[in-house]
């Protein structure tokens, strides 16, 4: 219609900052490779409103041809019939078939056996450390690599040592007023003990009281007893604190890597530490989805676009995300990408949010959990009461009639 008879692919995403810039690079590669196709890329704000808009547009009959979705959100999109199922043969025709991903990664893109999403990356919760601070604190080995830390006591001891060096804080993190942060930390710790939140059909709350309390006690210990982290720190503050060398460690998703590279910091990254018996860490995956109701021709164009994006996902990997597309992961270029490839092994040791209509990135589950855990970490609610409140709120969500 527009662009002189050119066929247009409309693409919705939620990437700002560095991710947005790298996405732009990948998009221009697609444009160069496909002069016959037009691309209209629309960036919307991250979080709950994005998914509301995507769902409404699909129901309203005017969805984009292709969109980014967090895999953890499939529980509210696939069962509602908002996504086009993707046949394995169809994907293989574009070189993005099921054999191109780790089985764990592909499984997370399925709902009731059908593939609904093409995974782009895995973005786990990881540990950053300031090399200079940790060196002064005696936490590095002879190669300037962090000595492995294991168990709550050892980790808190290391954080205290880092605090002595910086004179400010040992750890940077964002317990305050963030819709996801505390959930990410809690879910990592709780999953390391083998804890589960919901039954597989999401009809029952299976929260383990003692494991959940143990995870929350550890979190509250960081801010209240060990005092290696201020309970009042929010997201912006946490980035600034680590960047200015006022903390030895930083717990966050890997996506801030370029922020610290641009600041010419001497830092490194490793998988989230083994606190309670394993290296599991909370993660999510960005994926491409094709909303229900697009015509077969535009579906083909969208698959062409997705294929081009996956094959160029080395650019994407620079932003910290671990590519889902194995052929890119296996290149020397990726392996020599430091510190990003240091935690590539983490792509397998991850837990994705439980599947339910109220879970996933920016969902009610994450918002409620983060809010409760915030007051626990501020010392205004005991861990036991925090777990009880969390259980009650979960039960309320489970009892609520499904809106999808």
């Amino acid at each position: 219609m527009i662009g002189g008879g050119k066929q247009i692919v409309t693409f919705w995403n939620l990437f700002g900052g560095g991710d947005g810039a790298r996405l732009g690079t990948m998009e221009s590669k697609f444009r160069k490779g496909h002069p016959d196709l037009g691309l209209k890329s629309i960036t919307l704000a991250w979080g709950a409103p994005y998914y509301t808009k995507l769902a409404m547009a699909t129901v309203g009959g005017s969805p984009p041809d292709v969109a980014i979705m967090h895999i953890s959100r499939k529980g509210s999109f696939a069962p509602a019939g908002l996504l086009e199922p993707l046949h394995p043969d169809e994907l293989s025709r574009y070189g993005i078939g099921p054999d191109k991903y780790l089985p764990e990664v592909l499984d997370s893109a399925k709902y009731q056996g059908k593939i609904y999403a093409v995974p782009l990356d895995t973005h786990p919760f990881v540990q950053y450390y300031n090399v200079d601070v940790c060196k002064k604190a005696g936490l590095l080995d002879s190669n300037d690599k962090l000595k492995p830390l294991q168990g709550p006591d050892e980790i808190i001891k290391a954080l205290k040592k880092a605090k002595e060096v910086t004179g400010a804080w040992g750890l940077s993190f964002y317990p305050s007023n963030d819709p996801s942060g505390n959930w990410r930390l809690f879910y990592s710790l709780y999953s390391q003990m083998g804890g589960k939140i919901l039954s597989p059909d999401a009809k029952e709350v299976v929260l383990d009281q003692s494991k959940a309390e143990k995870a929350l006690e550890f979190m509250a210990n960081l801010t209240l007893d060990a005092k290696v982290l201020p309970a009042s720190m929010d997201y912006g503050g946490s980035v600034a604190t680590f960047q200015s060398g006022q903390a030895g460690f930083y717990w966050n998703g890997e996506w801030e890597v370029t922020t610290f590279q641009d600041a010419k910091m001497n830092f490194n990254m490793v998988p989230f530490p083994n606190v309670f018996g394993s290296h599991l860490a909370q993660a999510d995956r960005h994926s491409f989805v094709i909303p229900k109701g697009v015509d077969p021709e535009s579906k083909k164009r969208s698959l062409e676009f997705i294929s081009s994006m996956l094959k160029n996902s080395l650019t994407w990997a620079k932003g910290g995300h671990i590519p889902a597309y194995q052929p890119v992961l296996d290149t020397r270029a990726y392996r020599s990408l430091k510190p990003q490839s240091n935690y590539a092994s983490a792509a397998k040791d991850v837990v994705i949010d439980p599947v339910a209509w109220f879970s996933g990135s920016g969902s009610q589950l994450e918002i409620i959990a983060s809010g409760i855990f915030q007051v626990v970490m501020a010392g205004q609610l005991s861990p036991t009461k925090g777990v009880n409140q969390f259980r009650n709120d979960l039960q309320k969500l489970v009892n609520t009639p499904k809106p999808i």
Binding site: A48, N177, D234, G236, S363, G371, Q380, P403, I404
Partner: protein, 312 residues
């Protein structure tokens, strides 16, 4: 007062009507013609959605199409009234209104009276007090998020000097609402200020001159001339302010997300969460319907009270 006026004008109207029913009808038609475009927009964008809201509040209607329009009776209302989260969010809205209205009215009045006394470069003060009001909510909220930042925020570093550096302005559940009120006062006081300034400039100077001749002190002049003559402005300012405060949502959504742990979530965010994050439009409609009546009740009560005051 309105009633008195119309009865006084009635004989006049009858006189004009004698000219002929034809012109009257034409006048009426022209009048309706002018209002029609607005009425159509009003019906489509306000009346219809409100009626739909009441209808949907009796269903499980969902944003993604499920649930349908099956009549449920009062199930949504029952759920809502038994949800402590609803009551606490309603209380947060009320609390915000109670905390924000007095400073927004009193500070506006004081600033307006001070500015009104200034003869030289008055425009500068008018501009300064009004300036924050023209900022979009996102900008105003972001400025204050950084001001409130613990540790290195401007407020913390100044208060640190007197040993008060560790207030969790937006992160302490007991303080967050007050912080939002402070930000809101800074941001919106300019609007009330301008209304008051206009009211002040309508008071004839002669009254003050006469009072001065009679030996009234400035304080007495304020008490017996300024404040009584500003009564109509005050009623207007209060009405607009109470309605604006009851509608609070944007700055809270941006600054605390309703947190910490929902301690600042206003009722509008509650039904936003239910409707747009959880897709439960039917339930969210029920919440909106209840809030609709709360605002209606508040408006009617205030209208009756202020009418009595105006008449007195």
């Amino acid at each position: 007062m309105a009633v008195q006026q119309s009865s006084r004008q009635a004989p006049l109207k009858r006189g004009t009507r004698a000219e002929g029913t034809g012109t009257r009808w034409r006048d009426e038609l022209i009048g309706w013609g002018f209002v029609a475009p607005f009425l159509v927009a009003y019906a489509i964008f306000l009346i219809y959605p409100v009626l739909r809201m009441f209808e949907m509040s009796f269903t499980y209607n969902s944003l993604v199409g499920a649930g349908g329009s099956q009549f449920l009776g009062l199930a949504n209302y029952k759920e809502l009234f038994s949800d402590p989260a609803f009551w606490s969010s309603l209380w947060h809205t009320a609390l915000f209104t109670i905390l924000s209205t007095p400073p927004l009215v009193i500070i506006a009045l004081v600033f307006a009276m001070l500015t009104n006394r200034i003869r030289f470069a008055q425009w500068f003060f008018r501009f300064t007090f009004f300036a924050p009001f023209i900022l979009p909510v996102s900008v105003a909220a972001l400025i204050w998020i950084w001001l409130y930042q613990p540790g290195f925020g401007l407020i913390s570093s100044y208060l640190g000097v007197i040993g008060l550096g560790n207030v969790g302005w937006l992160t302490d559940a007991n303080v967050a609402m007050i912080s939002i009120v402070i930000m809101t006062v800074w941001w919106t006081v300019g609007f009330n200020f301008v209304l008051y300034l206009a009211g002040l400039q309508e008071i004839p100077r002669e009254l003050y001159d006469a009072a001065a001749v009679d030996g009234a002190t400035p304080l007495a002049q304020t008490r017996w001339i300024t404040i009584p003559l500003l009564k109509r402005t005050t009623i207007l300012v209060l009405t607009l302010q109470i309605l604006a405060s009851l509608k609070v949502f944007d700055q809270i959504y941006i600054m605390t997300y309703g947190g910490p742990n929902f301690s600042t979530r206003p009722v509008i965010e509650y039904f936003y969460d239910q409707g747009f994050t959880n897709y439960r439009v039917g339930f969210a409609s029920a919440v909106s319907a209840v809030f609709f009546f709360v605002i209606l009740a508040a408006s009617v009560a205030w209208f009756m009270y202020s009418n009595r005051r105006e008449a007195a």
